[in-house]
Amino acid sequence: MLPEVGLEGQRKICSTSVLCIGAGGLGSPIAMYLAAAGIGRIGILDFDVVDETNLQRQLLHGTSDIGRPKTESARDTLRELNPLVEVQLHRERITSANALDLIRPYDIVVDGTDNFPTRYLTNDACVLLRKPNVYGSIFRFEGQASVFAPHLGGPCYRCLYPEPPPPGSVPSCAEGGVLGVLPGMIGCIQATEILKLAAGIGTPLLGRLLAYDALEMKFRELRLRRDPKCPLCGEQPTITELTDYEPFCATPPPEEMKNMHPDEVSVADMKRALDDASLGIQVVDCREPSEYAAAHVPGVMFLPLSELQLRLDELKPEQGYYIHCRSGGRSMKLVQFLKQNGFKNVKSVAGGIHAWADAYDPNMPKV
């Protein structure tokens, strides 16, 4: 027993409830350490199923869990670690309609999601409900963590970035790759902050953003003040209720593949376009160079999303395009961007190159 925590601190930890939004790279170490520490109740919110490509960083899940809902896999791992912890499963997407009801029964929320729409929704709901939002985010070799809590005197996520970035300006799906151990580092920082908040010890990461660079092995602390002009927690807030942002990064679960979005085509359509040039449809791979190098479909045009702004003139608004990425998130985002820019016949390939591999090329490496 640590004297700084003591019996009283441990009691507080045991009576604290935490909602973990996302059971992926960040959610894994967060949930596992919280369970091991004997947190009272932990909610796991995730819509997805376990995919083989998750296992390099999502330690809640193992090879035998592939295809299972992440919530169920997470529950089994946490029960094994500590059967005394109450685990509640929320296998659903968080939306403006359910966010307040999902978050209200918990003391602390931890943001372990992988997309901007959910981050903004989580932040907004936490500010409205006066719940601490323990934030973490990663990109390749870099990560950030902070505690957002205007009701405790700190800033919120919108004090940092008031609005979600415009589509096309940020690679909002970090599918390009993440060093597997990176979410372990950031998630452990988030778990530490939660335990401190729960036990009421130490100095929270409030008004400070910790930026970590694994390649340099450096931490930087950036001071962040509450913005009086913040649209959410400022003096004259303009955001007083929840709104949904287009879920560009949502990976469609298998059962949803049957109900494709009007802007989507199937991998069979993509094959027809590749096999029959007379259809006049160009197939475009919008993934990043490292992904393309690992595996690609012959005959596609390669145009990484990161080079889009420089190479936009290579795409013709009157030409038909089927665009694919890894699993259908980024390509859908690109389709929406091109449609806003006057392209008439652009479609996103549902399920991306993973669905292609499943249908036509089972030996293709899934990266």
Binding site: R140, V170, A211, E221
Partner: protein
């Protein structure tokens, strides 16, 4: 008379480096800083709307002034998890 510029996350791709020394003959505001940066790194233009600036390890707003000896970090939002 220089400022040290640090690029975070995807800005490293846009800039092609992780840090850079920008000549700073006189103090400049955020707009002037961006003009100088974009002359050197035109690919950063697409990122600008989403990027926040931090001066000497503190996030700053659009009214900030930057001068010789300052360390300026360009920090884009990242969303991976």
């Amino acid at each position: 008379m220089i400022m040290r510029i640090l690029f975070f996350a995807q800005l490293k791709d846009g800039a092609g480096c992780s840090s850079f020394e920008l000549p700073a003959p006189a103090p400049m505001n955020a707009e002037q800083l961006w003009i100088a940066l974009l002359k050197q790194f035109p690919a950063l233009a697409d990122h600008r709307p989403a990027v926040r600036l931090a001066k000497n390890s503190e996030y700053v707003g659009p009214e900030a002034m930057f001068a010789d000896g300052d360390e300026v970090a360009l920090i884009p939002p990242v969303s991976g998890g």
